[in-house]
């Protein structure tokens, strides 16, 4: 059996939640025919002496150029036929020494803020792009299942583990924070209740600073302080 890691990297730009996908390529680096074309999560085999979390960070950087990303293991996927798809087998026969081998993958999810800049995703393996999570294509292997569970985990941990702040700028407005919650949880939230709840959160710290360069009335800025959360 072979062991791989796959990274489900979510980005948030204030308006939509996106997922970083790689376009599979031929062994010459060219595009596959339209019929064979598939998008996939960035992933690859774990090396012999490499810790799992190191493999996830390395693979993400190699395939997309992104480093220093918040990555967290959330599930191992090991269905015996997870790499047996009709479109998956030809690709595996091109790229793998033992394409028939069963592959168990340890999946990580990651979060990045796309507010300040869109990380320049680049890939020797193919074109990398951010795709809206509401509009995902059929992905290679079981990558749609992996993405679904990553999204459920993100929703579950958004508040309980305060991970959403990874997807905001260092200094953010309450409008940005609410927008993040609305888009990740896919529901409208009442502004007054939302602000009342945030006021009770010690870890959302008001700054003596306002937004700059905006056309509307500049809003107060806040920062996240992990040391002030009630859980440690």
């Amino acid at each position: 059996m072979d062991i791989s890691v796959d990274c489900v990297l979510f980005g948030f730009d204030g308006e939509s939640l996106t997922l970083l996908l790689i376009e599979q390529r031929t062994d010459q680096g060219g595009p596959l025919s339209e019929e064979d074309l598939q998008m996939a999560l960035p992933g690859d085999f774990v090396m012999e002496h490499e810790a799992l979390e190191d493999a996830a960070a390395r693979v993400l950087e190699e395939l997309t150029g992104l480093d220093n990303v918040y990555l967290k293991q959330f599930h191992a996927f090991g269905s015996p036929d997870r790499v047996k798809g009709l479109k998956d087998q030809p690709w595996l026969h091109t790229f793998r020494a033992q394409p028939e081998n069963r592959v168990i993958t340890i999946a990580y999810f990651g979060l990045v803020s796309l507010h300040d800049h869109v990380p320049c995703a680049s890939s020797f393996a193919g074109h990398a792009e951010w795709v809206d999570v509401g509009n995902l294509p059929d992905l290679a292997f079981d990558h749609n299942d992996i993405t679904d569970l990553a999204l459920a985990t993100l929703r579950e941990q958004l508040e309980s583990k305060h991970i959403g702040f990874e997807m905001l700028p260092k200094k953010f407005t309450l409008r940005q924070l609410q927008s993040l919650h609305e888009i990740v949880l896919d529901k409208k939230l009442d502004k007054r209740n939302f602000r009342k709840n945030v006021k009770r959160m010690d870890h959302v710290v008001p700054l003596n600073e306002k937004e700059r360069g905006v056309l509307h009335k500049p809003a107060q800025l806040f920062r996240f302080d992990a040391n002030l959360t009630s859980e440690s």
Copy 2:
């Protein structure tokens, strides 16, 4: 690389939280010398065509005789030197065809009620026993780390995912429910507040039935209804 599953099985009998451990044996099935003796979590390799969750259930049953147990995957452990311990290597050289191979293990935690009966844990591989989690020995491989994370996960999900009811009898008293929470969370809870909170939980359903065969005043019985939880 090899892939295994390990099961962290917690039991609760109303008074203590225990963990099911296997005593490692010689290849003849006899006890190891005191110097080599180690306890371990029930675990073994995943078979070629076996789903991970099927492997966890099979291994648990083969090693302990327990089936139909609530088991949930919580983490993959893959440190490159997790099976390189001084006491681990001789055992691996006795039992494994390729004892030097790196082993990545997918860990599951399980929960059982020991109220009605103590499941008769039996093992061809060695003696199986329930050990108080407050009093665990040094375990084989990285099994102490695996157990620590399982315990943290149990604490985290006890309320948020209502998993604690797996460790209670089908019909339970509020005293039993409070005792479970106190022991798992390792803190005293105020009886009045606890009961006030439970009253607001739709999924804890009062029955028209009382305890029997007790010396104290019989308390009302309750049952858990997963369909009445606010989360679905």
